[in-house]
């Protein structure tokens, strides 16, 4: 059960607005599905990411199909995670043999502000089916702590 808290409501409203503006400036119309369709070269930030958190971890999920796994590079500094890598272009004998070329290719780099300090020794990353999944355990100091109440 929770009581009505106007300040929390305001915070919620702020988040809602942030999301709406985020959606607007990333070129996506609110209400439309967040498409997995990848934009053309340089159209917007690449790769697209989803960030989640639970009590102990922050999860970063990046949509990066066709990246050469050995070029994937993750760096962490401060509270910023940087993902870089290279998606190779197909080996085509001559440009005239293209019928369609919609998939962007090339090197990319993107930094994501996580907002919490991370225990960088325990970071795990997997790349499967074109999705990069990074699990970043929060640093001890950033975890919520349970306080035992002693009854006197």
């Amino acid at each position: 059960m929770s009581t009505w808290d106007p300040f929390r409501e305001m915070l919620e409203l702020r988040r809602e607005l942030d999301r709406t503006f985020d959606a607007f400036f990333s070129g996506r119309q609110p209400g439309l599905p967040r498409l997995a369709f990848l934009p053309g070269r340089g159209a917007r930030q690449y790769p697209l990411v989803n960030v989640y958190e639970d009590r102990d971890n922050v999860f970063v999920e990046a949509l990066a199909p066709g990246v050469k796994p050995d070029t994937l590079d993750l760096q962490y500094q401060g509270t910023v995670l940087t993902i870089s890598g290279e998606k190779p272009a197909p080996e085509v004998s001559s440009p005239e043999s293209y019928h369609r070329s919609e998939r962007a290719a090339g090197r990319f780099t993107r930094s994501i502000e996580l907002g919490v300090p991370i225990d960088d020794a325990k970071v795990e990353a997997t790349y499967k089916n074109g999705l990069l999944m990074v699990k970043l355990p929060k640093a001890e100091a950033a975890k919520p702590r349970q306080i035992a109440v002693s009854v006197g």
Binding site: D22, S26, P33, R34, L35, A36, F37, L38, L48, V49, N50, V51, Y52, E53, D54, V58, F59, L63, A64, P65, G66, V67, P69, P90, V92, S93, S97, Y98, H99, R100, S101, E102, R103, A104, I112, G115, Y127, N129, G130, L131
Partner: protein, 132 residues
Amino acid sequence: MAEQTVVPADGTSTVTTREQTRAEERYVAPPVDIYEEKDGLVVLADIPGADASGLDVKVDQGILTIEARTSYSPMANPLRREFELVNFFRQFQLPEKVAADQISAELTNGVLKLKLPWAPEVRPRRIQVKTT
């Protein structure tokens, strides 16, 4: 959910477009590269999140259909959401006949690579020029 979104080359049937609201589930068209090699077409499609079990590729009446199902469940407590994985569906009309039994498909790192070799009767033939 296999309707036709492109007309076959012989014009035997009409197009039925899928209506977003009536489709069984939502889908998007994956971006593709299509290029020609010496003896056929190569199709590369980005279908992140789909694995081989959810993939359905077929060639029927000169129409190539790529369909891929993704199983994706977003986690709770999103801090930032920029994409959502839905199923993929796309059809293409092929210009020439392909050898249906020689089509090969491989899926690596979320990219589907299809090789569609031309049928023997439509392959270019070299003609020797005799000089006298």
